[in-house]
Every structure is written in C-alpha cells, then in structure tokens.
Symmetry: C2
Subunit: 245 residues, 2 copies
C-alpha cells in the first residue's frame, strides 16, 4: 500500500466530501485509514498512476475481501444451519457469493454510487459492483479487523438484504444467464451433448460442450443433460467474466 499523497479520488464523479458522507452511511461507522476505502472503489479501468510509475486499483483488495467474505458467510451459515451437512452449507454459500447475487447485494448497499470506472455499463459491467463490494470488505478488514468486518457484513449487508429462506428454494440457472448474455451481446450459443453408460455405477453419464459463435467456451458433466448444461454454462460465464476484465 503506497503511502504517497496522490489524490485517489481525482476521477471520482462526486467530490471527496460527498464520497465520505455516502461511505459513512453505507458503513455505519467511521473509517480510520481513508485511503484504503478510496482504493476499494477504483476499478481497473480507472487505475491511478503513482509517482513511482506503478498503477493502483481495487483488484488486490478484491482478492483479500473475496476470501474474508467467504469466511464470514461460512461462519454465519455454520451457526444458523446447525443440523445441515457440509453439502447443504456449500450449496447455500455458493448461492450467496455467486456473481449475480453479489452484484445485487452491492447495488442494494449503494456501492454503485461510489464506483470510479471508465467502462460502459452492460450486463457484465455489473460485476464491477460485486467486485467493489469485495474490495470494500478487504478495506474494512485491513482498517478495522475481522470482527468488525463480520459484524458489518452480517448486520448491514446480509440480514438487511438477504432472504435465506428464499435462497434455499432458488436454483441458480446458469443456462438462462448465458443465453440472456448472448442475446444482449448478439452472440450465438450452442450446446452439444453426448452420453455414455457408466458400467460401474449402472447409470447414464452426460457431457455437454458449450460453444459461443462456434468457439468452445466450457464443458460440463453430470447425471442428467440439464445438470451437464448447468455446469458448462457456469464455466462459460466465468470465462466471459475473465475475458471482460
């Protein structure tokens, strides 16, 4: 973390005073190391050049915040669902931390109002919000420690904006997401499936390859064609996300 005095909020659409007033509302507590919070909202496209020639943005904080978020959510779910097995816990955690849900949470929290970026918003551009939420979590963690971060997340983010009972019922439909993305971006999506009989377990095994404009974008396996398509779609969405960074 650089300690020079470069103004990180230079290209912010709102002034420094308004930025911290809004941030204070989002956090519910006073930030100490303000620079960390400024950094959390700088998307890669608006990277800031420091006097030493290096560039800074929120990606390192996002790396950290992503892991802290996972830890807090895991703890929270572990205690709420004290009779459920790890399969259930893993599934519901992934419904909470998946891109789409994180983007929604970030917008509900108000992250979009503070974001500093130079990209046009489109379907994938919404990932900027979820990523900035993770970066903010990284900033809070470094500034105020684990327990404060945990309290912030559970009280202000999770309990206010997340309906666990609803989430238990939802299946994430990756196939619909990829088709929606393709329509918006005028691409053609094709699923190609095959099945083999698994002699050992006496059941059919399905493999699906997903192509976007005839280029392979992801493969998936499963005990049903639907399951294999879901896996392939999830991988393709990750790939699109990586390419769009």
């Amino acid at each position: 973390m650089s300690k020079d005095s470069t103004n990180l909020l230079d290209s912010s659409p709102i002034g420094k005073k308004e930025f911290f007033a809004l941030l204070r509302k989002i956090l519910g507590f006073r930030p100490i190391n303000k620079r960390l919070y400024e950094l959390a909202f700088i998307h890669k496209s608006a990277s800031i050049k420091l006097p030493d020639g290096s560039f800074v943005n929120n990606e390192r904080l996002e790396f950290l915040g992503d892991a802290i978020l996972d830890a807090v959510i895991s703890d929270y779910l572990f205690k709420i669902y004290d009779n459920e097995d790890e399969g259930f816990l893993t599934k519901i955690r992934s419904k909470i931390v998946n891109r789409d849900n994180l983007n929604n949470l970030a917008e509900k929290v108000g992250i979009d109002k503070l974001l500093i970026s130079n990209v046009n918003q489109n379907h994938l551009g919404r990932n900027l919000y979820g990523n900035a939420l993770e970066a903010l979590i990284g900033a809070i963690y470094l500034d105020r420690g684990y327990w404060r971060t945990k309290n912030y997340l559970i009280r202000r983010v999770i309990k206010r904006n997340l309906n666990l009972e609803e989430l238990e019922q939802t299946e994430i439909d990756f196939k619909s997401q990829i088709i929606e993305w393709a329509q918006k971006n005028r691409k053609e999506v094709r699923f190609s499936s095959s099945d083999t009989f698994d002699q050992e377990n006496k059941q059919l095994h399905f493999s699906v390859d997903l192509f976007i404009d005839d280029k392979p974008f992801g493969s998936g396996d499963g005990h049903s064609k639907k399951e294999a398509e879901q896996h392939a779609s999830e991988k393709a969405l990750h790939k699109i996300e990586e390419l769009s960074r």
Copy 2:
C-alpha cells in the same frame, strides 16, 4: 453441535489422555471446548451415532475451516507481497491450499497421528489429513476466534513448514498427479485433444477431454495443449476426490 455426552474418542487408536497431550503439542495452546477438537479428527468413515440418531463427523468443521484458512492465507500473502497483483496472489494461494500441499502440511503438523478413520490409506486417503487439518482450523476458530486461529496458522503451520520462495517457482503438475493416481489404482487414463482457430483473437484454442477407463472425467481449455491438459487433469482430480468421499 450436539451437547450430549457421547464419547467421540471411542474408536480412537489412542486414549483420550494421549490424544489431548499430542493435540496440545500441535496447538501450542490449551483448547477450551475440547469436544470441538475431538470432532475435528473424526473422518466420515468413523462417524459417530448420537443418541438422537444423527451422525457426526468432521465434515462441517472442514467446510468452515477451509474458508478460514483461505482468509488467513489471503491476508498473509496480501501483506508479504505488497507489490504483486491479484493474479500472482491468486496463483500462490492456490499452490498453498491445493490438496497435495495441504496433505503435506497436515502430516508435517502431525495430524495423521490423531485421525480417527475406518478407511485404508492409499494415495487419495492422504486427503483425509488435509481435510482434518481444515477441520482443526474450524475447531480452533470456533473455540478461540479468528485472531488466535490466524496466529496459530502463521506461526506454527505456515512459517515452520512452508517455503514461499520455493513455492513461487513450483508449477503444480496435475497431469502427473492423475497419471500417478491411475497407475496406483490400475486405471487407464486417456487424453483426447482438439484445437480450433479463434478468429477473433487470431490464435489457436485447445480443448482436452480426459477419460479414465473410457469414462469422461474432466475437460479443459487453454491456449496450449499442455494448459488444456492441466485444466482437465485438475478437474478429474477433483471428481475423483468427490467420488472417494
């Protein structure tokens, strides 16, 4: 977490006194809620039936500990590598928390001496060690909180047993791992690859399907055949791990 009085160490190869003497040595501090630590070493194959008819083992704790470990390692790397980008951080983190490395760490720490299981040890059986280390991390976290867990991990596990400089140089060779596994288990591994020319980016794109005894076990993509094979092998290893649970 059940509060009844079932003896969780009934099928332990060592007595309760020896168990806690060894554990105390591994931890370097005194456990408070002892039952959590007992549970951390009970593999699924040695699940204990409680009076209410339910079974307990270390898998829930493993779910939690896995996430706590990721958070601690991310924090540690974030601070050590203060000039590296998130791509570097992600890569070195995955070298630390990958199955093989976790199993090694677990053995170095002495987890194997406390484990309670009813399975024969083989190549995959070593995952029991890494998983139990994660479960132990979950137990420490619940018993003593995040900071104590972090200090334990960094001082006693990471700094004593991990050479970061060496790790920076290593590439994880998933292909060799899957071939080694197949030889031990008398299975046949086959890689089937295809390439397409990516018009948009003007480069070749490789896809590899991996078959074990002619059943599809994983697919991978990449800019080289080697990269695609690595990805397919990594997925196949995950699948084998899931099937062997």
